[in-house]
Amino acid sequence: MRLVVRAAEVSGAGGLIDITRAHVDSCLYHGQASLDFVARLADGGAAVSVPTTLNVGALDLIHPELNHGDAVTAERGRLLMDRYRALGAQPTFTCAPYQIADVRPSLGEQVAWGESNAICFCNSVLGARTNRYGDFIDIAAAITGRVPYAGLHRTDARRATLVLRLAADVPAALRDSDVLFPVLGIVLGRRAGSTVAAIEGLASGQSEDRLKALGAAAASSGSVAMVHVIGSTPEAPTLDAALQHQTPDRIELVHVRDLRQARDALTTEAGNELTAVSLGTPHASLVELERYAALLGDRRVHPEVECLISTGRDVLPAASERGILDRLREAGVELLVDTCSYIAPILRDPGGPVMTDSGKWAYYAPGNISARVVFGSADECINSAVAGRVVRDEGVWEEAS
């Protein structure tokens, strides 16, 4: 409770409110401090008081053989995951809890979520309300069931104050391609920082997977906790609604050159060589797994390339039932759950070059696992995995030169 009160002081809140759910990121091992903190909670007899899901940990508990790190660190990672489960949290171990139907908060629900991409999805796509809760305060909120009534819990703070408008030079094909979203997310994070923005110029009804990729990238290059995508997110049926009928502080254009620049900056490796392809950050949905399988068709991953897809353990049963897991595995793809390939020693040759379709993975992997990164669309990634070298298809970018 002391932590929740401290949080209230920092956020200048006048009082606390009840939450209905929590998503806890503290279960990912960062060193002894992670274990020391949860031990303090357990010693005090703490338990969660609201339905609580857990974020990724340091280990794939279902396929532990995929971990190539030292056994002691792996064991500590596993211990931490167990400790949080023992506090009463559900062992979901996914960074995409919004893909689990029965724990997904609904419009207007007050919750406390950790994990930057989940925070952004929760506010933007679900219209549920959370602040950017980090480690420690996430579990403190789950235990007390209370958070400070401040920031994005309040309607007024959800108003867009920045408008990002896609300029006329962004070609229609690019506007309607999956690869736009992580790239636009990187631009959004850099421009918005922590302010709430509204994006104008996209067709309405964008898919959850696209919005997920946008938010995850924006929460990496910036501190974006909420974005309105006009015509796609629930609090932005119109620009005027996203602005809460007020005037924005800034209106900025996003030109095709800005997008190209952001895309190019995600690639740190110039050559065509490839050791691995890592997909599924944030954790792939069932729809995305199907798409990867469809892109592969009856082709196989090149024998010298490690191709990995991260997904939630919650996705496995349905994917298995539909035969997607078998198809992917037969093609030489490895499925990773409970963790991710840029936070745990999973890749056989982490230095890469590793190709990814994720803006978030591309952003963090060079620092986290010293990977050289090639960013590309899902099609480019799958084609490259098959070819054993980087295969580019300028496609939607072509007109944009």
Partner: protein, 126 residues
Amino acid sequence: MTEVVGRALVLEEGLSLWGGMDPATGELIDAHHPQRGASLTGRILVMPSGRGSSSSASVLAESVRAGTAPAGIVLGEPDLILAIGAAVAEELYGIRVPVVVAPEVGAAMREGETVRIGHDGSVRRA
């Protein structure tokens, strides 16, 4: 509580400590950050904002435990994640890393100059 004194490390852009600092060494590791390679240990970290990952609270606490943490953090805007990381580190290890918001003083600060953060959270350029 005592005053904290250190040399300023002025970052032009906010930093996510997770993915941005290696708690084992205190080094700035964000490949996209203009000041990659700098050491944060013992410095007064001055930056416009926090950034990115919610794991930054854990990384700050772990760096305090490991003795690689910055001596203090001066921000241009409040950051709950860093404030809570510091509060937990103090609770667990009895070591205080003040996280204060002082946009005007922060903006004027120059790389390498000596900075004092008082027990009341005041920031002074020495």
